[in-house]
């Protein structure tokens, strides 16, 4: 039953790749531009940040929750990364300074996530509202911390430059996405925690009646959301050579779209990391082929909207069968 749904989204990915190959422009030497190794790895790199956030969002949505604050947490993380990597700290190695910056950025983001989780589970306020408030508040926090200015991560030879130089490589960025996706695929599929996440989203009441630790699981998924978004933020800062308090606007919607297209139900209880990876790839390939065909970027948004609705409709229809 679950395998069937995964199959549907994989078919969707195959379909869109096929269409991309068919409509791709052709290079002067006759090769299919879409299929060029450089282009395919570009696509992977471009989708990695959203992909990492989407992995965490899968857990949240599986508990029948939602986290709208991830875009703001991303900005927050990039600012912390920028601030700590550009601080002059004579005597410490570039590696140490980078390690500090990463730890602070990821740790603080995880704390924000934990705060979300605590308010949601202890005060029993709806995740939509809590994460909406968090989205606004954390954005303000990021702007305040950075005085609403971008923090450039330089091109010289300081710690910031080595950090950016190392992290901003396709291998590192895509590798981070791949590793995190693999780890959390296993966590969701093969641990007790993963089972609890699905059970709570399926039927929270029954979960309570079965003695599941609902409060701690919920806090854990939101903390995870903050943590992974923090990591995504570190990568984003390196990619853009910048800590930017205005980054990540509407990224939560892209992440949710990837999760939903991949077959996870917003009502909770069913879904998979594999599906999310597929959903992320579908969006990445779609964006790429639209750009290769030089379609107006505003049309890009409309097409995305249609794909999301179609994806969900296809899943709903097969469920009814």
């Amino acid at each position: 039953m679950k395998r069937l749904r995964k199959l549907k989204s994989v078919l969707g990915l195959a379909g869109i790749i096929l269409i991309a190959i068919l409509v791709s422009p052709v290079a002067a030497d006759g090769s299919n531009i879409f299929l060029q190794a450089g282009n395919l790895t570009d696509v992977l790199r471009q989708m990695s940040v959203i992909g990492i956030i989407a992995v965490a969002m899968t857990f949240v949505i599986l508990t029948a929750g939602i986290d709208l604050s991830v875009g703001s947490i991303l900005a927050f993380a990039t600012c912390l990364t920028g601030m700590f990597i550009t601080r002059s700290s004579p005597g410490s190695s570039h590696f140490a300074q980078a390690a500090l910056a990463v730890t602070v950025a990821v740790g603080a983001s995880a704390l924000v996530g934990a705060a979300n989780g605590v308010v949601i589970s202890a005060f029993r306020i709806q995740p939509f509202i809590v994460s909406l408030a968090s989205m606004i508040g954390v954005r303000g926090l990021a702007k305040w911390l950075s005085k609403n200015e971008n923090i450039d991560i330089g091109f010289g030879s300081d710690a910031a430059a080595s950090f950016a130089g190392f992290v901003n490589q396709k291998v590192v960025i895509v590798g981070a996405f791949a590793v995190l996706a693999a780890i959390f695929w296993i966590v969701l599929d093969r641990t007790v925690f993963g089972r609890y996440v699905r059970a709570i989203g399926d039927n929270e009441k029954a979960g309570r009646y079965s003695g599941l630790p609902i409060r701690s699981v919920k806090i854990a998924v939101y903390t995870l959301s903050g943590l992974l978004t923090g990591i995504a933020g570190v990568l984003y800062a390196a990619e853009n050579h910048q800590g930017n308090p205005n980054a990540g606007v509407a990224y939560e919607l892209d992440a949710i779209a990837a999760v939903v297209i991949g077959g996870t139900s917003l009502m909770g209880g069913s879904g998979s990391i594999a599906g999310t990876i597929v959903g992320t790839l579908i969006m990445g390939v779609l964006t790429n082929i639209l750009r290769l065909r030089n379609v107006d970027s505003n049309v890009e948004m409309m097409v995305k909207a249609v794909i999301i609705v179609l994806a969900v409709a296809i899943q709903k229809s097969e469920k009814a069968e």
């Binding site: 269409i19 409509v23 853009n240 910048q242 750009r291 065909r293 379609v295 505003n298 249609v306």
Partner: protein, 316 residues
């Protein structure tokens, strides 16, 4: 099942979008940072118009909507298409540096338009001199006050754009270079309005309440100058002072028209830089072996009521 056919249909429809068939044209790709700013919309329009005169050139414009990541992705897609010329108006300096470098080192001619990046990863950088504009504005203020008050003496209000942007810093400091020599000219009020007309109106209202006598309002772009004018008009003091701005766009909403209408005393054309870009770009496309200069600086022109009509015509 029916839905899958709908999807296939859409896919094929997508195939129809963008790109055209026929003999292979020269591809000029322009990565614009934000279509929605009037200055940039004017750039797009000018570029389109000028290149329309070259029928063997296909111009493609991508709008990054002020998102660095988006612009990077769009440029990457351009790189894959191996354009004959890539023009980039970078959204921000640091983020765009690396990807432009990749294009440049892949052998694609890159023109960097109006905004700089951190490393010179381009064939040519076409800029205009905001510092010089600031100096021209400062000098105009000195000349005007000398004529009005018999000596270089008076109160000025400055309305500034987004702090930290190169254009803003230079328009300010350029004027300071000149004004600093005349202690009789005092900046009595300084406000930040982020380039936006409505904000400038609010800030100017505050300035008007605080200052009983203002001689000159130097706004660092035309929309803010207009906003300041409207604020003064609301309080009946618009005849007390003059308003000068920067940008000098043509067309009914532009600064040139405002000078012609008497709202602005003067403005300074902030060149679109597009004309030069097309000139250099065309030579790159058609003259193999042409080596453009690394940096081209386009001079500004002061717009006054005397030359407004002529400049408007020239900009058509």
């Amino acid at each position: 099942m029916r839905l899958t056919w709908v999807v296939v249909g859409i896919g094929l429809a997508l195939a129809g979008c963008g790109g055209s068939s026929g003999p292979r044209k020269k591809l000029v790709a322009f990565s614009q940072c934000n279509n929605s700013e009037p200055y940039r919309a004017a750039q797009n329009a000018r570029l389109t118009k000028l290149l329309a005169a070259q029928p063997d050139v296909q111009l493609v414009i991508a709008d990054a909507q002020q998102d660095n990541s988006k612009q990077i992705g769009q440029i990457e897609a351009f790189i894959r298409q191996k354009p004959d010329l890539l023009i980039v108006a970078p959204n921000e300096r640091a983020p765009l540096t690396e990807v432009m470098g990749r294009a440049f080192h892949a052998g694609i001619p890159v023109i960097c338009l109006e905004r700089d990046i951190v490393q010179p990863n381009y064939t040519s950088y076409i800029r205009s001199d905001n510092r010089e504009i600031g100096r021209m504005a400062g000098q105009y203020i000195v000349d005007y006050l000398t004529k009005k008050n018999g000596a270089p003496r008076g109160n000025i209000v400055q309305i500034r754009g987004l702090l930290g942007v190169e254009g803003e810093i230079n328009r300010y400091e350029g004027a300071q270079e000149v004004l600093a020599k005349y202690p009789g000219i005092r900046t009595v009020h300084e406000a930040v309005a982020d380039w936006i007309q409505a904000k400038a109106k609010d800030r100017m209202t505050e300035a008007l309440r605080a200052e009983p006598k203002i001689d000159v309002v130097y706004a660092h772009n035309d929309p803010m100058a207009v906003g300041a004018y409207l604020a003064a008009k609301d309080l009946g003091r618009e005849k007390e002072m003059i308003f000068i701005g920067v940008d000098g766009l043509s067309g009914p909403g532009g600064g040139i028209q405002k000078v012609a209408d008497g709202i602005l005393a003067a403005t300074f054309v902030y060149p679109l830089c597009v004309d030069k870009a097309v000139e250099i770009g065309t030579r790159i496309l058609r003259e193999p072996g042409f080596q453009p200069e690394k940096v081209y600086t386009i001079n500004s022109v002061m717009v006054t009521p005397e030359n407004a009509a002529r400049l408007e015509k020239a900009a058509e």
